[in-house]
């Protein structure tokens, strides 16, 4: 006796509601990346390192404000601030960049992402954006703190205005640092599936390139070499940019605009390579 095969209706319903689309997915990735960078939404152990770094950078800002309140002298200007904490920022990046991208590679979760409306470029840009935002917050947050502290001790409204302009200048410098540091770090981390390897590679690239740049500067004496060599170091490139825009760092001679161009090319280049890297992903 053959029976009729039938699928029963047990009330299964397809989702017919609103689907928020690609933009929402990309924004969520960005927000998630930012949370991962600061250890939010994860266990206490994951919070230790980022919050120590945040503590240290804030401490420096607080000390500067305190000294300003006591003696009226600003030992570290807004624009000087990022360079003072740049090493710490590099260590932060060496830990966070792998956390953002290397883990997905190691656990092979990329197919999960790419089989959904999130595009390849969206993923890459969202991760990059999250890291840029994290580093920017790390640098600009204390600068804002310095402004608030200074604003309270300012003599009058024009003093506050001057502080505000200083802070905005500092923000611009922080943006340059954030863009340069992050684009290089994420690119390096995206080719390494082990976090330790990625962290090591980032530190090696940063430190060796700085060493080489430092050397070339020393060799260059007063000539053009000393003005051009800083471009090789991710620590000094934003300083060169700062000199071009505000003239407050080392002497860049006539090469100011070149610094701007190189910064642009570096960031754009690293970003494009990052997007290209995720075009072809194999397990």
């Amino acid at each position: 006796m053959s029976e009729q095969s039938v699928i029963h209706d047990i009330g299964y319903q397809r989702y017919t509601g609103v689907r928020l689309g690609r933009g929402y997915a990309a924004r969520s990735l960005f927000e998630h990346g930012l949370r991962v960078a600061f250890g939010l939404g994860r266990s206490a152990k994951a919070k230790i390192f980022p919050w120590i770094v945040i503590g240290l950078v804030t401490l420096l800002a607080v000390i500067v404000v305190a000294i300003k309140a006591q003696s009226g002298e600003m030992v570290l200007t807004y624009q000087d601030y990022p360079t003072a904490v740049s090493t710490l920022a590099m260590v932060f990046l060496a830990v966070v960049a792998p956390e953002l991208v290397s883990r997905d590679l190691r656990n092979q979760t990329l197919p999960l992402y790419f089989s959904r409306p999130v595009g390849r470029a969206d993923y890459a840009l969202a991760k990059l954006g999250a890291l840029v935002a994290a580093v920017w917050l790390l640098l600009a947050g204390p600068q804002t703190l310095m402004f608030l502290g200074s604003a309270f001790t300012a003599a009058d409204a024009s003093g506050v205005g001057a502080e505000a302009r200083g802070m905005l200048g500092g923000w611009v410098v922080s943006t340059a640092y954030a863009l340069i540091f992050s684009s290089v770090s994420v690119l390096i981390a995206s080719v390494a599936s082990r976090r330790a390897f990625a962290a090591g590679a980032i530190v090696v690239v940063f430190m060796v390139s700085s060493g080489v740049a430092g050397l070339l500067i020393a060799l260059g004496g007063d000539g053009p070499m000393a003005q051009l060599a800083p471009m090789l170091s991710p620590f000094l490139l934003p300083e060169g940019l700062r000199s071009w825009l505000y003239g407050t760092s080392f002497d860049v001679g006539a090469y100011g605009p070149l610094y701007g161009l190189v910064t642009l090319l570096l960031v754009a280049g690293c970003t494009s390579l990052l997007v290209l890297r995720y075009r072809k992903v194999s397990l």
Binding site: F49, T87, M90, V91, A196, G200, V208, A218
Partner: protein, 237 residues
């Protein structure tokens, strides 16, 4: 010291991608020295910047870190260490084999370019001094990073913090911390062996020698001790 373990470790090291990271550094060191000499830079500045700044302070610790955490850390991470541990071999011998490989590879990878660069700058005596100092430094660093591999689950991170923050920043700012900084022992060895007056460090030869031995032995002993109580948790990873 177990030859089979050393052989497996060496094969594992040369087969991994992270090893490629080691290649550009010696080349950069020598290349930069050549550029400096071609630009007629004064020898003392060149030595300070290349041999100390790039060589001792950056390349030596980073190479030792990459190799030292690679010889045991990655095996612990992916679970293959069980193949070595499930054998009737004293844990101390396992650690010694790993240390021998890590120290040799780091030493060769740094001492050779340091020798070449130093000879180019100021002759054979400086070259030999820096080569010897690099070997001592590689040994101490390797023991340190090997111990970290067994003690923590993220040895590269802790090692990086040590190199960048402790040795990079603090030891140059706070004189007291230099007695616990391998970088300064290496500088002391290089200075005294070469008779050169170009490098400054507040650590005396006696302290440097003793501390290098202490760090090496302590690191090895600690690693072996912890390896004896190595546990594998419940279900997979």
């Amino acid at each position: 010291m177990n030859m089979t373990i050393a052989w497996i470790t060496a094969r594992g090291l040369f087969g991994r991608r992270r090893f490629l990271l080691l290649l550009p550094m010696p080349i950069i060191l020598i290349g930069i020295t050549a550029v400096g000499l071609a630009a007629n830079a004064p020898a003392d500045e060149l030595a300070e910047a290349v041999l100390y700044g790039l060589g001792v302070a950056t390349i030596l610790p980073l190479v030792s870190l990459i190799v030292g955490t690679g010889v045991l850390g990655s095996e612990i991470d992916d679970g293959t260490v069980v193949h070595i541990l499930a054998k009737p071999i004293p844990r101390g011998r396992i650690i010694l084999a790993k240390l021998a490989v890590a120290a040799s590879v780091s030493a060769v990878a740094t001492a050779v370019p340091m020798f070449v660069a130093a000879v180019m700058i100021d002759g054979v005596r400086l070259g030999l001094a820096f080569a010897a100092a690099s070997v001592a430094g590689a040994l101490a660093y390797s023991a340190l990073f090997l111990a970290l591999s067994v003690l923590t689950r993220r040895p590269v991170l802790v090692g990086l913090l040590y190199v960048v923050i402790w040795e990079g920043l603090l030891s140059n700012l706070v004189a007291g911390t230099r007695t616990v900084s391998v970088q300064h022992y290496v500088v002391r060895f290089a200075t005294d062996l070469s008779g050169s007056a170009w490098f400054e460090t507040t650590v005396s030869m006696a302290v440097a020698a003793v501390m290098t031995v202490v760090v090496t032995i302590a690191g090895t002993w600690l690693a072996a001790r912890r390896l004896r109580s190595f546990s594998v948790a419940g279900e997979t990873s």
